[in-house]
C-alpha cells in the first residue's frame, strides 16, 4: 500500500469526476420565447425551458419590464419543457427590453433576460406581481448558462489538462536545474520523461479546448492570447525534443537541453501569465472576462472541479513515473546490447 495510495486516489477521483460530472444534470433554465416583441393588449406565446418540470409543478410566469412586474393571466403547461402563457400587457409599460421570469416548486426561480422587446410608450404602471413565495431549487445540478450550456462539464477535463501539463513542466524544469548542478544523466532522463508526458497532456488540452471553442465560440481555433500562449508552449517543448535529437553525445545533450529548458520555461511562464492580460481575450480569466471565480462560485462545480484537478495531476505524475521506468529499462537494455 505504501507508495502507491495516490495512484488509487487518482483513479477514485477521476471515476468520481467522470461519473458524477457527466451524469449530473444541468439546472433548469428558460431558453426561448416564441415572440420577439409584444405590444399592449392581450398577448399569447410559448416559453421553452431546458430541464424544467412544468407539467407536474404548475409554474408561475411573469414579465419584468424595467423592474416592474406583470403576472401572466393564464399558464398552460404543454410539456415539461414548454408552457403556453397569456399576458394582459398594460398600456403604461416603458419601451424597453423585457425579461421573463418563472418559478415552480421543483425548479426554483428561473429567468430569461431580455426575452423580447416591449412596444410601450408609457412611463410606468402599477405592478401586478404573482402572489407567490419563491423558494430556491434544492436538487444538485450544474449551472445552466447561455452559450456554455451542457459544455460546462468540459471544465473538469480541459482546465486540469493544462494544470497537469504545468506541473509536469515544472518537474522537468526542476530536473533540468539538477542536471546543471550535478551533471546527472538520470535527472536528464527525468526531465525528458516529464516533457514527453506533459506534451501528451498539452495535446489533450488542445483537443478538449478546440472542441469547447467550436461549441461555444463557433470556431476550432481563434487568435486569442491564451491560445497563442498554448501554441507557443507546445512549440517550445517540440523544439526541446528536436534540440535533444540533434546532439549525439549524452552529457552534452543533457546540459544543452537543460539550458534550453530553463530558459524556455521561465520565459514561457512570463508569457502565459502576462501576455493574456495585456490584450482582450474571449478566454475566461483575461481581458475583463469573468475569471474562474464566477464558475467556482457555484458550489456544484467546485465539488467536481477540485477533485478533477487533483485526480488529473496525480494521473499525470503516475504516467510520468511509468514513462520514466520504461526509459530507464531502455537505457539498461541499450547498455547491455552495446
Amino acid at each position: 500500500m505504501k507508495g502507491w495510495w495516490w495512484k488509487g486516489l487518482s483513479v477514485v477521483l477521476l471515476l468520481y469526476v467522470v461519473i458524477v460530472g457527466l451524469r449530473t444534470p444541468l439546472g433548469p433554465a428558460l431558453v426561448h420565447v416564441s415572440v420577439e416583441r409584444i405590444a399592449p393588449g392581450e398577448v399569447s406565446f410559448e416559453v421553452t425551458g431546458y430541464n424544467t418540470h412544468f407539467k407536474e409543478n404548475a409554474p408561475h410566469l411573469w414579465l419584468e419590464n424595467d423592474g416592474q412586474k406583470v403576472c401572466a393571466t393564464s399558464v398552460t403547461p404543454i410539456s415539461d419543457a414548454a408552457v403556453s402563457v397569456t399576458f394582459t400587457v398594460p398600456q403604461g409599460l416603458r419601451e424597453s427590453m423585457t425579461s421573463i421570469r418563472a418559478w415552480d416548486v421543483k425548479d426554483g426561480p428561473l429567468v430569461l433576460h431580455e426575452a423580447f422587446f416591449t412596444e410601450g410608450r408609457g412611463t410606468g404602471i402599477t405592478e401586478t406581481p404573482c402572489a407567490i413565495q419563491e423558494t430556491a431549487r434544492t436538487s444538485f445540478a450544474f449551472p445552466n448558462r447561455a452559450i456554455l450550456n451542457e459544455t460546462i462539464r468540459n471544465l473538469f477535463f480541459h482546465v486540469p489538462m493544462w494544470f497537469t501539463m504545468m506541473v509536469l513542466m515544472t518537474i522537468s524544469f526542476w530536473q533540468s536545474l539538477r542536471v546543471l548542478r550535478t551533471g546527472d544523466l538520470g535527472a536528464d532522463r527525468m526531465a525528458l520523461s516529464a516533457v514527453d508526458v506533459s506534451l501528451l497532456f498539452a495535446a489533450l488540452g488542445l483537443i478538449t479546448g478546440s472542441i469547447w471553442a467550436r461549441a461555444t465560440w463557433g470556431n476550432w481555433w481563434t487568435s486569442d492570447p491564451k491560445l497563442n500562449g498554448a501554441a507557443v508552449t507546445v512549440l517550445i517543448y517540440a523544439a526541446y525534443l528536436i534540440l535533444r535529437g540533434s546532439i549525439p553525445d549524452g552529457h552534452k545533450r543533457a546540459r544543452l537541453a537543460a539550458i534550453y529548458n530553463i530558459f524556455a520555461y521561465v520565459l514561457m511562464f512570463v508569457f502565459i501569465m502576462v501576455l493574456p492580460r495585456l490584450t482582450d481575450s474571449l478566454h475566461p480569466g483575461n481581458g475583463g472576462n469573468p475569471a474562474f471565480s464566477s464558475y467556482d462560485l457555484d458550489s456544484s462545480l467546485r465539488a467536481l472541479f477540485y477533485p478533477a484537478v487533483i485526480g488529473w495531476i496525480l494521473l499525470g505524475v503516475w504516467a510520468y513515473t511509468l514513462h520514466l521506468r520504461v526509459s530507464r529499462l531502455k537505457a539498461l537494455s541499450d547498455d547491455a546490447s552495446d
Binding site: 546543471l180 507557443v232 517550445i236 534540440l243 534550453y260 530558459f263 520565459l267 501576455l275
Partner: protein, 261 residues
C-alpha cells in the same frame, strides 16, 4: 571607507557566485547578482566589445552580408507587392523581414568562433563577461539593423502608413523590437552553435521564444502607426523591457554552463 566596504561586499558576492551558483538561496543570489554586475569586470566587457568590433571591422563582409540580406529581402517583397498602403499588411511584412534579418544576423554570433579561439577566450575571460559583451554588441547591431531595415523598407514598399503615425513612438518600438530579438536570440544562437547545428536549429529553438515578443511588438507598432501615442503603446514597450531584463538575467546565469565543455 564606505566604498571599500561596498567593494569588499561585491567581491565576496562575486566569489560566492562563481564558486557555486546553487549553494545559496536563490533570492539572495539574485540580489547579489545585480550587485556583482555593477562592479563586475566592466573593463573586461569593454575589451570584449572592442574585440567584437575589431573582428567585425576585419571581416567587413559580415556587415555587408547583413545589409545585403535586408535589402534583397525588401527588394523581393517590392517585386511581389510594389507599393503597400494598408497599414496592417505593411506592418506585418516589415516585422517578418526584421525577424528573419535578426535570425540571420545573430545566427553567426557564435558560429564564427573556431574552437581554438574559443579556448583562448575561455582562458582569458569569464563566460559571463563574454555573454554580456556579446549581448550588448548584438543589441547595438540589431538597433542599427532595424533602422536600416526600416529605411530600406520605407524606400521600396512605400511610406504611406508612416504619414499618420506617431513617428517617435514608432521608431522607438522598432528599435525596442530589434534589441529584444537580439537579447533573446543571443543565448539561443550560442546553444545552436554548441549543438553544432547552425541556423536551422536556431530558427527552431528561437522561433517559439521570440513569437510572444513579436506579437506584442507588432501590436505596439501597429498602434503607433495608427497614431496612438506613448500612453497606449507604453505598456507593450514596458512589457518588452520586462522580457529583456529576464532574458539577460537568464543568459547571464546559464551561459557558464554552456561555455564549458
Amino acid at each position: 571607507m564606505h566604498s571599500i566596504l561596498v567593494e569588499k561586499f561585491a567581491r565576496q558576492s562575486l566569489r560566492a557566485l562563481r564558486f557555486n551558483l546553487f549553494s545559496a538561496p536563490s533570492a539572495v543570489k539574485l540580489f547579489f547578482a545585480f550587485f556583482a554586475v555593477r562592479t563586475m569586470r566592466s573593463t573586461e566587457i569593454a575589451h570584449l566589445l572592442k574585440l567584437e568590433w575589431q573582428l567585425d571591422r576585419r571581416q567587413k563582409h559580415a556587415w555587408g552580408s547583413m545589409a545585403l540580406y535586408v535589402v534583397s529581402t525588401v527588394y523581393v517583397c517590392y517585386q511581389g507587392v510594389r507599393h503597400l498602403s494598408e497599414t496592417p499588411i505593411w506592418n506585418a511584412l516589415f516585422w517578418i523581414i526584421l525577424l528573419f534579418a535578426a535570425f540571420n544576423a545573430l545566427g553567426r554570433s557564435f558560429q564564427r568562433e573556431n574552437s581554438g579561439r574559443q579556448l583562448y577566450l575561455y582562458t582569458l575571460a569569464s563566460p559571463r563577461s563574454v555573454v554580456l559583451a556579446r549581448t550588448i554588441y548584438n543589441a547595438i547591431t540589431m538597433a542599427v539593423l532595424s533602422l536600416l531595415s526600416l529605411a530600406a523598407y520605407a524606400l521600396f514598399i512605400g511610406s504611406a502608413p508612416l504619414e499618420g503615425a506617431q513617428m517617435g513612438t514608432f521608431i522607438l518600438v522598432v528599435m525596442a523590437g530589434g534589441v529584444g530579438f537580439a537579447l533573446v536570440l543571443t543565448l539561443i544562437s550560442a546553444l545552436a552553435a554548441r549543438a553544432g547545428n547552425g541556423i536551422g536549429l536556431m530558427a527552431i529553438l528561437g522561433f517559439p521564444i521570440v513569437l510572444p515578443m513579436l506579437l506584442s511588438v507588432m501590436k505596439a507598432s501597429k498602434l503607433a502607426l495608427d497614431g496612438m501615442g506613448w500612453d497606449v503603446t507604453g505598456k507593450y514597450v514596458i512589457w518588452l523591457l520586462l522580457i529583456d531584463v529576464i532574458t539577460v538575467v537568464l543568459a547571464w546565469l546559464l551561459f557558464p554552463y554552456l561555455w564549458r565543455d
